[in-house]
Subunit: 369 residues, 2 copies
C-alpha cells in the first residue's frame, strides 16, 4: 500500500478514536479508550505460528478515574499530535522528538504534560496497538544501525531513489530507519537466501569476499542485537520474497538469543514481534558440534562466566527453546563450559568462514530450527 | 596513492623493521625496537596547528629485558602477521580478529602469546606509530556507525562502485569502515560546506527535508561521538575538498566535547588525531545565547546534573577550550544550570531547525571556533 494510502487509513483510525471520545463527552459519559494490554502477562509464545504474540486481554483508560486521568490526557495528546503530523505530511521524527513537541506546562496548572520520555514512550506503544499500526507508520522512526549488501535492489518511495545493494561498495547499504512497504519497495531479486550475521566484523570479511555474489544471497548484519528496522527488513525479505533466513552468531547465550529475536521476536515488544518475526529462520552457527567438526582451536575458547551460565539456564527455560534439538544444544554448551565468538573463525584462515564453514553448514542443512 | 602502492610501502617498512632486528641478532646485539611513546605525557595540544599531537619522546623495547620480552615478542608477532596479510592481499579484519589469529599457546611453554585483546590492541597502536601508518592501511578496520548524504560521489576503489550520496534515499550512505584515500576516492563536489550533526534523529529530519540540496552541502552524522571513520571522513572532506565544517550538537558538555574531537582529536588517540583533525571546524550550536535569541521554550531545558557540572568544569580546563569565546560559553552554561538537546528544536516546528536555525547561524557566522 502506498504511503499516502496508509497515512489516510491511520488518520481515519485516529479520527474515529477522537470522535468516539467526543460522543461519550456529549452524552455526559466518562470518555474511555480501550486497548490491548501490553504487559508481559498478556504476551505469549504462539506455538503453532512460532511467534511471540500479544494476547487478547484488553484494558480501558478513563478520564474520570484519578489513577488514569493523567495517562488518558497523555494518550489523547499523543494521538492528536500524531494525527496532525500525518495530516501535514511532516518528516518522520524520533520518539524523543515527539516527547519534546508535547512536553509543556499545562496552562493554569503547575503540572507538565510529560515529565520525561519514560512517560511518553509507553503511551506511543499504546497508540500503536490501539490502532494496529507500527510507530514507523505513525511517522516515528528509531535509529537504525545495520548494513546489508547483495542481490537486492529497493526503491525508496519517499525520494524515488533506487538502491542497488550489489553496488554499495565495501560499506554496504545502510538499513533505513523505516523499512515499511509504504516507503521501501523491493525490486526483483535473484537471491536464494538471506544470511544474517551478528557481528559487523564478520559481515565485513564476507562482504569483501563478495560472499553474496558467489552464493547468491543477501548479506545483512544488525551489528549485535538487531534493532527494529533490521528485524522488520529480514522479516519482509523472508515473507515477501520467500527467502530462507540463516542466522550466524557467536556460540554463547547472547548469540542464541539474538537469533531467537530475529525468529520469534521478544516478549517485551510482543506487538512488534508479530510483525517482525521470521518463524522459519534457522540458526546455522556457531553450534556446539562445530567445535569438533571444524576443529576450532582451543585458543579460541573463552570460559563461560557465572553470568553466561545463568543466562544459558534462563534461555533453556524459554518456551521457544523447548524443542529437543535446542535443549540438547544448550545443555551441551553448559557442559562444555566455554563460549566461542564467530569472529574467532578467522584464526583458521580468513577465508575459512566464507569458503568452508558457511557453505558447508548451509549445504548440509546443519542448523537448529 | 593507490591501495597497492600504499600496501607495498607498508610491507617495505615492516620488512625493514624485521631486517634491522635480524642484523642485531646476527651481531649478537640485544634486538631493540624504537617507537614514539603513546602515553598521555607525550601527547600535547599544538596551539599553532590547533591539533592534538604525539610528542617526540621515544621508547625502546628490548628482547633481553625481562620486563619487555613479552611485549617485544608480541610486537614482532603482530608486525609479522600484518605483513603476511598485506602480502597476501587478504580482506581487512578487525583488531579482535587479529587477536584471535595470533592467540595460541607457545610451543613447549604453558604461556599464551596473548591472554586477551587488551594485550594486543596497544601493540597494534605501537606498530601504527612505529611505521607512521593508520591501522586501516594495515588492513585493520573498526566498526563504523555513521551515515551521510548530499553533494558528493565517491568511488570505492576496492569494488569499483560509485556511490552517489545524492541518491541514497532516506537511509543515506553508510560511512565505510575504511575511508583512506587508497580505498575511497572523492569525485568532484559542488558542496559548499559539511554539516556534521551529533544526533541521528536530527540528521534524519534534515535529510528528509533535503537540507543538503537546498543548502548545497554534505550532511553527516556520527550518531553520537564520531568514531574513527566518521572523523577521518570529515577531515578528508575538509582538507581535500577545502570544505568548511560546521558541527551541530547538543548544548551540554558532551556536545562541546564531540565537536572538539572532530576538530582537534583526543589525547588518548593523539597519533590518529593528527590525521583526523579538522582544525578550522566551527561549533554552530546549540550555544547558550541561542536560548534567548531563538526563544527556546523552558520545557526543553533539562537541569544539569552533578556529573554534567563536573564535566563542564573539566572541559573548561582543556587547553583547546582556552580561547575567550569558549571560556565565556562554558561559564554561561554553568551559570545557566540547564542543558538542551538539539532534538528539542522540533518543539518549535519540525522545520525550524532546517529552515530557520541552521541557515541563520551559518549565514551570520554565529559560531564558536
Amino acid at each position: 500500500m502506498s504511503k499516502s494510502k496508509i497515512r489516510a487509513e491511520i488518520i481515519e483510525k485516529l479520527k474515529k478514536l477522537g470522535e468516539q471520545l467526543e460522543k461519550e463527552i456529549q452524552k455526559n459519559k466518562d470518555p474511555e479508550i480501550t486497548m490491548p494490554i501490553r504487559t508481559l502477562s498478556n504476551a505469549y509464545f504462539d506455538d503453532k505460528d512460532k511467534l511471540i504474540r500479544l494476547g487478547d486481554k484488553k484494558q480501558t483508560r478513563n478520564f474520570f478515574n484519578v489513577g488514569q486521568a493523567r495517562k488518558f490526557m497523555q494518550t489523547t495528546l499523543i494521538a492528536a499530535q500524531i494525527k496532525e503530523l500525518l495530516e501535514q505530511n511532516k518528516p518522520s521524527i524520533s520518539t524523543r522528538q515527539l516527547y519534546y513537541i508535547l512536553k509543556r506546562t499545562i496552562a493554569g496548572l503547575k503540572e507538565n504534560t510529560f515529565e520525561n520520555q519514560n512517560e511518553s514512550d509507553p503511551i506511543i506503544e499504546d497508540v500503536e496497538v490501539s490502532i494496529d499500526a507500527l510507530r514507523e507508520e505513525l511517522g516515528l522512526e528509531p535509529t537504525p544501525k545495520g548494513v546489508f549488501s547483495g542481490l537486492i535492489t529497493y526503491k525508496d518511495l519517499r525520494t524515488g531513489d533506487e538502491i542497488n545493494c550489489r553496488k554499495m561498495g565495501t560499506a554496504g547499504a545502510a538499513i533505513p530507519a523505516n523499512v515499511e512497504p509504504s516507503v521501501m519497495e523491493f525490486k526483483k531479486s535473484e537471491a536464494k537466501f538471506v544470511l544474517v550475521v551478528e557481528k559487523f566484523a564478520v559481515w565485513n570479511v564476507l562482504n569483501q569476499m563478495k560472499f553474496w555474489d558467489k552464493h547468491k544471497c543477501i548479506l545483512l548484519t544488525g551489528k549485535g542485537q538487531g534493532e527494529r528496522s533490521a528485524r522488520r527488513l529480514v522479516s519482509r525479505l523472508n515473507k515477501e520474497l520467500k527467502l530462507p533466513v540463516y542466522v550466524f552468531c557467536d556460540f554463547d547465550p547472547y548469540g542464541y538469543y539474538i537469533y531467537s529475536v530475529y525468529k520469534q521476536g521478544s516478549i517485551n515488544l510482543a506487538f512488534f514481534s508479530e510483525k517482525s518475526g521470521c518463524p522459519d529462520a534457522k540458526y546455522i552457527g556457531l553450534k556446539h558440534d562445530d567445535v569438533k567438526e571444524f576443529k576450532i582451536p582451543k585458543s579460541n575458547f573463552i570460559r563461560l562466566t557465572e553470568q553466561d551460565l545463568k543466562r544459558l539456564k534462563e534461555i533453556k527455560n524459554y518456551e521457544w527453546f523447548k524443542k529437543k534439538e535446542w535443549q540438547d544444544e544448550i545443555q551441551k554448551a553448559i557442559d562444555f563450559g566455554y563460549k566461542i565468538e564467530s569472529d574467532a573463525l578467522v584464526s583458521k584462515t580468513i577465508e575459512f568462514m566464507g569458503e568452508t564453514y558457511l557453505p558447508k553448514v548451509i549445504k548440509d542443512k546443519d542448523w537448529l530450527d
